[in-house]
Subunit: 299 residues, 2 copies
Amino acid sequence: MSFYNKNILIVGLGLMGASLGQALLKRRQYESDFKVLGYARKQQTVDIALQNKIVDEGAANLEQMVKQADVIVLCVPMLSIESTLENIKPFLKEGVILTDVGSVKDEVIRASKKVFGQMPRFFVPGHPIAGAEKSGVLAANSELYDCHQVILTPDIYTQNEAFKVVESIWRFVGAHVVEMSVEHHDQVLAATSHLPHLLAFSLVNTLNHRSENREIFHYAAGGFRDFTRIAASDTTMWHDIFNCNKDALLEVLNAFTDDLDKLKDAISNNDEPVIKSVLSEAKTAREYFTEVLQARSNK
Amino acid sequence: MSFYNKNILIVGLGLMGASLGQALLKRRQYESDFKVLGYARKQQTVDIALQNKIVDEGAANLEQMVKQADVIVLCVPMLSIESTLENIKPFLKEGVILTDVGSVKDEVIRASKKVFGQMPRFFVPGHPIAGAEKSGVLAANSELYDCHQVILTPDIYTQNEAFKVVESIWRFVGAHVVEMSVEHHDQVLAATSHLPHLLAFSLVNTLNHRSENREIFHYAAGGFRDFTRIAASDTTMWHDIFNCNKDALLEVLNAFTDDLDKLKDAISNNDEPVIKSVLSEAKTAREYFTEVLQARSNK
């Protein structure tokens, strides 16, 4: 455990931050192993975090918390990262290690360069591939990261020690850590996460506007429920993600609408071979994905 | 139980047919209450159905089964309905009642009119809003219809007695029965079921074709899993549905792509108010849908 004896500060006690705190405290063997500190804008959130064993100590005062922190995990919405970095900068301890959980790594790099002049060597950008439709401190789940992937996107200047500490924190809460470039991360996430969310939001809206209006929701079944579950996700978070990962998202969205147009034409023209090949290929690929998930949970 | 003492024949022992048989037998109090007969093209399927308490009697011989049947439930793919009706027609008993589980009611009406010259008064078209990605007799699930909706689409000439019998069969296996016009049914299902499946198939294909190819599936998480789960569904069934409900499907697909284009423009132009209003509205509508589902399961 390369974060032994350290004070880990979680900035932002929403679903991601609160789940990390709860996961750390639940797995800690001795109180002396490490300490979890928490900052939230509202004292009420801090109080809930204390009551629910999410943090050992907390405050709505950022300065007070940052001054004590050896490791800082930023768990704030994407578009708040820049202002948060500005606010913590004056109080950072010598030797501090910084990481985050933002869904778009390019934006984190941009914000860091703006605030620090360059990407600090002690900052290891990270992104746990985990989430839920629920948000807020009350949605904390100590198993949120268990068997999930965490992508870290260090560059060649990142301190090896900082990388190791961040990696060991995520492994401690059950996650599998992988390394990737910022650009590749943002493209992969645009395809596997941001686009599906965009489609789910858009589909629910289309249905909501039809003449039958909400009557149709009464006749929707399991497939629709699962397909659109993610449309109940936090709206600020998703606005920020769409905004920050615009280029990669629009690129994969265009590829998607091109393919969709082809399928639409095939249906219009009763082109059975094309329709059947699209469906079979999708089924095979989806089944491959199921195997990947199963292999991971058996690890 | 208005099907007391009757022989119910299930034609086609795939997921839908086999689940109905198993649900009926599981809930039957006395063997004398009613009998479930089964027909499948392959004797092997019939044997599995007998072993798994899906039917009381079965055969790969359609004539032999139809001659004994008081109620026939067609559980074959959409595009096999016409030929199945042709094949059973010569052997139908006086007073027989016919129903089906097809996802597109307009196609069932068309096929019936072609085979019988007009829509038989003893035929009550039906559609249980239930399913799974698994298919085939081994996927049988006696609880598949429990708390699910079954839509029946009789017309003014449909025999009231036939309607009552079909309704009571579905209620017996735990379903809620609602009545709807053929046209309305096909529009509602295009929106809530056929379009989501089309998008899921298409999205999985788009991702599968990208340069990263299947690597990206390794970094996809829960949202993607749920969103695309339905892309593993039976391909023949979905080809038939897209083909048979083409008009209603293309109409709602066009509405969807129009809305999607607007959202794409808003993201391109960083139009925060538009993006946020789309997301909030979708979240509210999706939460309303969750309430509908909860209210139904508490009934």
